[in-house]
């Protein structure tokens, strides 16, 4: 870290806090252009139907698909062979494929009036049998959601290592069927869009609550047949993303087309009912796992049948198959698995499209792998920590390439496990168990591939493969450093951490660094903030841009010092030779205002640099963690209380440890939601059953324990400062660790929970199944 204590490694307070604390954040719903028309959508009341038409009210602005033929369908095709493409119309055309699918846009001066208009529309449809369960969707006689397909599956992938010989040689074999629930990411701010047409620039300006303004811009241009230069997307303050705002929205396309058509600004703000029911859309996996181990618990092989409920359409840009592709490539986790056989299916159902939620498939995979390991340990009569220790990739093997070609960059996985277990008083816990208490210890170890780049996403077939990340750095005439990045900060604190990176390189005080982000007109192209990539990618790009800017400043500063360039250095925000120095402010003033003093050899590009960055190799950083949980189960009610929650985490070099802790804690709270509370059930007709936050339970302050985090720091050898992507980590481990703790508590009854969330009803059902309720 720099001597100032404000550079890489400092727990600097956030620059962005002030406006939020004063209620001066500016979110899309806070912006109301003059003359705006508010949109309410008429949405499908049924999961599957043939749409014959819409009877519109006699008065009012109502637009259906037939009125907006300029909008092309959303197509997010995977490049993986065998992928079945789904065209998603912005407004339903002849079929309705999930509850909440937009049918018509209704516009009025107020949202309330627009909703009245929507209520006065009469959709005319013929209901079809719905497919609401992913396993039923794959049955040969299931009704087809896309009728030109031969089955309700976007894609099937396989790997066929031999496992037939293992029954004869393995000391233990377990098989488990496991399920994770369909969830809703539920940021506290929903989505929202304002579209305006600027006749002077002939440009569409879309203000949207998005994590990826540039990808949204490309998608809008693609679907509306506009040049990309005719679309500007602004992402203002965004009230949480978690993947929910990493999508091209049908609503964005409709608002954009309407703004062009009507010549008036048009705004749609998602309400909570829309958020929950029209977009309940992540995490739902089914696993059928078989694992073999030798007598010491060493894994011999895993065989996995996995189905992901991908919903009715392939969402843009991540497609319907990202989760299944991840299952195939990350199931081995942090372990040295010698053989792996799998089949994954991305099933198509009458539900909203699936989106990658923080952790993406890792959360389900970790749950499946870690509960299976515990089942093996129980069968072999060995300790849960021991079976992990014997299978974890050892530190001396780093960098380690596993059997599916994942390359782990650095770290000491067994040490993380040791420290997590050491933080728990295991002897006391076992004594309580012996005394008859229903308490248990649960462990989970996992790694999080983050900031993975071109080679990985190309292999996963997503239509928007990330490449080099770029950043601009420039001095304004007063010496303020302006950074411009194409990704977006919506809680991650990038306005602070990227200023710390710039400070590390240039010595400019973070208070004098401004971050410009969230506007495609002002920033270099970027695929956005997702995949735990921002700090590695934008951090690397900002550092490189600042380094080059420093070189240019050095030339000017040396000339002002009348010293040879080689004799000068950039230190603490100044060009220094011995005792003499010229501040970067002075350098900036010279470039902009006193060019007569510039040296001949000055770089004509001035004090403005765009630089690109991609780690090499770009297979991603692997942060990793061990979670250890003590949970108490109430045998009467099935309720679970988390008594202790310990995380040992290695994110490499931490740019701002306070912010990293915040990411880990927030992710863990979401993981606790996945483990114990959150579930968006659908009935057999495909109706979503949780329409308010009183039905869809988000963890509150009393449901999240005071979590302990211990850091290990193993820098990544492949990134600019050794930092690793860690933004999703917290959300990965909790379901595995918590369910393992519950199952440890229930072990003396022989009961096991296998489905998420582990609600009181599921815990009681598990006990009832073995006659112990």
């Amino acid at each position: 870290m720099t001597v100032s204590g404000k550079g890489v490694g400092a727990s600097l307070r956030r620059k962005e806090d002030r406006r939020f604390l004063q209620g001066r954040g500016r979110y899309v719903g806070d912006i109301r252009p003059a003359g705006v028309l508010e949109v309410a959508f008429l949405r499908s009341p049924v999961a599957h139907a043939r749409l014959r038409g819409v009877q519109k009210p006699a008065q009012g602005l109502v637009f259906t698909a037939a009125d907006l033929l300029e909008i092309g369908p959303i197509r997010a095709n995977s490049a993986l062979p065998g992928f079945r493409a789904s065209d998603q119309p912005a407004l339903a055309r002849d079929k309705l494929r999930h509850v909440g699918e937009p049918i018509a846009a209704c516009l009025a001066e107020s949202r309330a009036a627009a909703e009245d208009l929507a209520a006065a529309c009469l959709p005319d449809y013929e209901e079809l049998p719905a497919v609401s369960d992913m396993l039923a969707a794959l049955a040969p006689d299931a009704p087809l959601i896309h009728e030109h397909w031969s089955e309700n599956a976007f894609l099937e992938t396989k790997r066929e290592d031999e496992v037939a010989d293992l029954d004869a040689i393995a000391a233990a074999k377990v098989r488990r069927r496991l399920r994770t629930a369909r969830q809703s990411m539920a940021p506290i701010e929903g989505r929202g869009v304002i579209a305006e047409w600027d006749p002077r620039l002939e440009q569409l300006i879309v203000t949207s609550s998005t994590q990826m303004p540039h990808v949204t811009k490309s998608g809008i241009a693609e679907c509306l047949g506009l040049d990309e230069g005719q679309v500007r997307v602004i992402s203002p303050d965004v009230g949480g993303g978690f993947g929910y705002k990493g999508i091209l929205l049908a609503e964005e396309l409709v608002c954009a087309a309407l703004a062009i058509r009507l010549g008036r600004p048009v705004r749609w703000l998602e309400d909570r009912l829309e958020q929950l029911t029209a977009n309940a859309n992540c995490r739902e996996h089914f696993y059928d796992v078989t694992a073999w181990a030798d007598a010491e618990g060493r894994l011999l092989a895993c065989e996995v049948e996995a189905v992901v409920d991908a919903g009715a359409y392939s969402a843009y840009p991540f497609s319907a198959c990202l989760e299944a592709a991840q299952i195939g490539s990350i199931f081995p986790g942090p372990y040295t698995l010698p053989r792996f056989r799998f089949r994954t299916v991305s099933a198509c159902t009458n539900k909203p499209p699936i989106l990658p939620y923080r952790g993406v498939a890792r959360t389900g995979v970790c749950f499946a792998m870690e509960t299976t390991l515990d089942a093996l340990a129980r069968q072999l009569g060995i300790d849960a920590a021991a079976i992990r220790a014997i299978n974890l990739v050892p530190p001396e093997a780093m960098p380690y390439r596993n059997l599916v070609g994942k390359v782990f960059d650095s770290g000491d996985y067994p040490e993380a496990l040791r420290r997590a277990v050491a933080a728990i008083d295991v002897a006391a816990l076992r004594a309580r168990q012996a005394a008859g208490e229903t308490v248990g210890l649960g462990l989970a170890v996992f790694c999080e591939q983050g900031a993975h780049g071109t080679s990985v996403y190309h292999g996963w077939g997503i239509p928007f493969v990330p490449g080099f990340e770029q950043a601009q750095a420039r001095f304004t005439p007063d010496g303020v450093l302006e950074l411009r990045v194409g990704l977006h900060s919506h809680g991650q604190g990038l306005e602070t951490t990227l200023a710390q990176v710039a400070h590390e390189v240039l010595g400019v005080d973070p208070a004098r660094v401004r971050l410009v982000h969230g506007d495609t007109a002002l920033t270099p192209y970027s695929t956005g903030t997702w995949g735990s990539r921002a700090m590695v990618m934008a951090g690397g790009a900002v550092a490189e841009a600042c380094r080059q800017l420093g070189e240019r400043a050095l030339t000017i500063g040396a000339a002002l010092l009348q010293a040879p360039r080689e004799a000068c250095v950039l230190r603490d925000g100044a060009i220094v030779q011995g005792e003499a120095k010229v501040t970067l402010d002075e350098v900036a003033r010279t470039w902009y205002r006193r060019p007569q003093n510039l040296p001949r050899e000055v770089d004509k590009g001035g004090l403005e640099v765009t630089a690109g960055y991609r780690p090499d190799p770009d297979t991603g950083t692997h942060s990793y963690a061990a979670h250890a949980v003590v949970a108490r189960v109430d045998r009467e009610t099935g309720a679970v209380v988390l008594e202790q929650y310990v995380i040992v985490e290695d994110g490499g070099t931490l740019v701002n440890p306070m912010i990293v802790d915040g990411q880990v804690l927030g992710g863990t709270a979401q993981g606790i939601g996945t483990a114990l509370y959150e579930e968006m059930p659908f009935d057999a007709q495909g109706q979503p059953l949780a329409g308010t936050l009183a039905d869809y339970l988000l963890p509150g302050a009393s449901e999240v324990p005071d979590i302990t985090i211990e850091h290990m720091v193993t820098p990544s050898p492949w990134t600019r400062f050794g930092q690793k992507g860690i933004g999703e980590s917290g959300a990965i481990g909790p379901p595995a660790a918590i369910v393992n703790a519950i199952n440890d508590a229930l072990a003396r009854f022989g009961a096991e929970v296998t489905d998420l969330p582990a609600t009181p009803a599921r815990v009681l059902a598990a006990l009832a199944k073995v006659g112990a309720a």
């Binding site: 209620g23 915040g662 917290g730």
Partner: protein, 169 residues
């Protein structure tokens, strides 16, 4: 309908449909957008304001029922000494990320500090049950509140006019 409100100390005459809720009134008509909307169902707490001296969910109050009320929003508390302490503590404890829940959280937090000066961690967590945050995992929020409660319990800290440690100045 016509209605009269006192908002952040100023008497205000408004015209609204009776079904409009107070959060929309504050945001759309008075441009007080610090009051956020997260559920419009009384669950998330993002819309919490002070209504006649007590915290209330502005999404559940309709224009028709709040005529004559006195309302304070986050914007009206910039100079409030307790709020200043809370802001300082929220920043120090990293009690906010996206900032969307923050104004509502601060309104509730201020009420806890004033009403329950002896509250311990369990009580603070319980009292926060009506305010959801999807980003922070609550640890920073709870710690910030406990820090403010503790600082106000220290002798000599009771004077509301005492100079503050520069709220994010």
């Amino acid at each position: 309908m016509k209605l009269h409100l006192t908002v952040n100390g100023a008497a205000t005459a408004l015209e609204a449909e009776p079904r409009t809720h107070l959060a929309d009134l504050l945001r759309d008509q008075l441009l007080l957008t610090g009051t956020h909307i997260g559920c419009e169902h009384g669950v998330c707490g993002a819309c919490t304001v002070e209504l006649d001296g007590a915290p209330a969910r502005s999404c559940l109050m309709h224009a028709g029922s709040c005529d004559g009320a006195t309302v304070r929003t986050i914007e009206g508390l910039v100079d409030d000494p307790v709020m200043a302490l809370l802001c300082e503590a929220f920043s120090a404890e990293h009690a906010l990320q996206c900032g969307y829940c923050t104004p509502g959280m601060l309104m509730t937090a201020r009420d806890i500090v004033l009403r329950l000066p002896e509250a311990d961690e369990d009580r603070v967590r319980e009292e926060l049950a009506g305010n959801l945050c999807r980003c922070t995992g609550y640890r920073g929020i709870v710690r910030a509140l406990l820090a403010v409660l503790a600082s106000r319990r220290r002798p000599g800290s009771g004077d509301p006019d005492s100079p503050l440690s520069g709220c994010l100045a």
